[in-house]
Structures are given as C-alpha cells and as structure tokens.
Symmetry: C2
Amino acid sequence: MSATLPPLPKEMEVLRQVPLFAALQPETFARLAQAARIERHAKGDIIFRQGDTAQSAIVVVDGFVKVSRLSANGDETLIHIFGRGESVGESAVVARDRYSTTAEAVGPAVVVRVPGALFIQTAREFPDLAFAIINEAQAKVIALMDEIEILKVQTADQRVLRFLLSLCPPDVDTCTMRLPYTKGDIAASLGLKQETLSRSFARLKAIGIEIDARQVTVASVRRVEEEIARLNQLV
Amino acid sequence: MSATLPPLPKEMEVLRQVPLFAALQPETFARLAQAARIERHAKGDIIFRQGDTAQSAIVVVDGFVKVSRLSANGDETLIHIFGRGESVGESAVVARDRYSTTAEAVGPAVVVRVPGALFIQTAREFPDLAFAIINEAQAKVIALMDEIEILKVQTADQRVLRFLLSLCPPDVDTCTMRLPYTKGDIAASLGLKQETLSRSFARLKAIGIEIDARQVTVASVRRVEEEIARLNQLV
C-alpha cells in the first residue's frame, strides 16, 4: 500500500528517528508523514504562541527551538531549548488544550508540523500512536523532574559544567566548540542570572575551560567530569 | 451489564471524581474499578520505590503521598506532594517503565492501586482511557512547568505565601488551619532550605500570619493576596 504513496522528502526521514515516531507501525507513520509540512524558520520566528489553541505537533529537524512561558505578571521563564529530534505540543494537541508555552526559533531552524486533527484521529484508530504519545509524555515528565532536581539541588557551577559537558563530542578529551545559543538563553535555560553565569565561566578557567565570545575550549573533558563528581560530593 | 457486577466499595466512589477517570465510559471505568485494590497506609509507608518496575497506578483517596527522587549522589529531592484525587504512576505503567520516583505516605493515607497489566490492556481496547492518560500526562507536564517557573522566578516569601494561600478555604478572610505536613517537607516541596522557610515565616508576621508549631492563623486572606501581588510587581 505505502508503495503507492509518493516518496517522502528527505527532511521527513528524520521523523523516523524521533522517539515519538520511532516505534510506530509503517501505516501509522505514513499517515502522519504524508500530512506533515516542513517549515524553515529564521531566528526569532514564533512557531506557536502560549494561549493559542494547540493545532499542530512540532518536531525539530534542525537548529534549536526555545520554549518559554509568560507568567501572569509578565515574566518570561525559559522552560527548555529543544533540539534535533525533539517533539513538542503533541500532548496539548491530543488533550485539545491551548499551548502552555511559546515556541520560538533560537537561530535558523527547520521543523516539521503535523496537523493536530489528523494526530487525534490517528491516535484513536491506531493504539500504537496513543501509546507513543504516552511514552513521550512520560519522558517529558521525567525530563522536567530532572530539571526540578537540578534547580533545587545544584549550584551554578554544577549546572554550567553539566551543560558544557553535554556539548562535548563523545570519546575526545580536548575539544573546542561553539555555544549553541546566546549567553542570555544559556543562563535562562539553567535558571541562572546572566551575571551568575559570567562569574561561573570565570571560575571555570581554573579547571581548563576557556570561553571567548561563543567559542568554548575544554582542555580536558576528564577534568570536567572529575570536577562535577567533586562538586556532587560537596552538596 | 454493569448491573450484574458487585457494587463498588465506598472508597472507589472517589475514583469517579479523579481527573484520570472522570471522562471514562462506564464500561471502561467499571473494568478498572473492579480490579482496583484499596490500601490503607501509615506515615512513612513506601507505596512504590524508585527503580522498581512500574506495576500499578496509584490514586490518592485520603491523606498525602510524597513523591521524591534520589539522585546518583544520594540526595533526595522532593518533587511533589500528592493529595486527594491525584493520580501517580499511570504513564510509567503504560510506558512499561520503572518508577522514576519513590512514593511515601506523609501521614495516614488511603490509596487505590490499579494493576498495570489491566491498565495497558484496557488502554489498548478503549481509546477513551488512552486519551485520559494523555490528558493527565499533559496536566502533569504543565504542573511541573509551573513548578520550574516558581523555582526560577519566585522568592522564598512568594513561594511561602502562595502555599499558605492554597491552604485557606475559599470565601473566608480570617482563617486558622493546620499545616498538612512537617516544616521539613514544606521546605523541600517549595525548594527552600528549612532555615529559609523559618526566616520567611518570621517575616510574614508583619502581614498578619502567625505560625505556632503546625497551626497557622491568617488574619486577612485579602492582605495575603495583596502582598503576593505586590511581590510579583517587584520581581
């Protein structure tokens, strides 16, 4: 059957690797992928806005999408920065809810948008999609609990070191990389004031981490891991 | 059909008011309720343990259940205290995951335990249960984002005032009530050190809040609301 469907564009291939879609039956996946639209966004583009009726689920194919909330008194809290392969909005769509956050491209970004009505209809007919959405929601609950644990327990230096370690490629010791987004967004995503982040960056020179504008050089990844372990002992 | 089933015990009636079960078809609800077990717990009883295979979903019928996580270095982070009508573990069960937290009775507590295998089987056959689980997961994601917003943005006094306000009955101005759990658990659930909580309690005397052991007297709820609004402006 799916042989009669037109081939999927290259950008859709990444959907198969996304946790939300990875375990779907071929028919369920084809149904969603055929209706999905690819969107290219520039830095600052709003992908969806808090309070709007949730009309589509979004999968990040390339770049970063910043998800933040506006509180009643107008403060913006950055909740999470989503990267390649992460999905957002699918539970809100199925719950026929409003988006509880605003999603904004942090730089140039490519996303796939899956229409919500089709999502609901498919989840009703194909339990594998309903279960995939539950699994993904469970993963998001755990990720948010991790975040709460970090905010309640970890110091600024621990948060910054963990973040820098997440940027280092596996199996290297010395590495140089570019910060994926601005220092303001990094501070917000770690729950720090920007001056606290700057002071932490300054302290980390002592363990061989140099930060020059958006370029980071880590002299020894092993040293960073040892420092994280040492700080964990002190808490 | 359900007329041939034995009547449900009184404690099961609360299940119908729980968000997770409220919108279910009568057949779907009856199937789960008939297999559910009522459990009475004493303070400190472990209801499930982090890392164990998730084998049942839990609904709190009476009392409070504290859900916390143990990090790799042995720190315990209190994530949330669940009260009457709140459910926990259902996404982990359906995702065939391990419990990501430990659930412990904070005082005497009554819970209903729904066997996980039945939960999965029913969600597969009845899409209304699968959708109810997704809705509940979405509500949990939003509650956790609220928590992150509070941790990132609000000061100790704001957190304490919001918590005290949540204890006041509606439509009263002066009220006296008992703290639902210990100051240690309150501090942990608000992401504060216990001494920070005590200092905040001391400052709140100035706006008419008296705390004597576990008894709280609020001279004017309106005054508390005004103070919350004032602090929100300052942030």
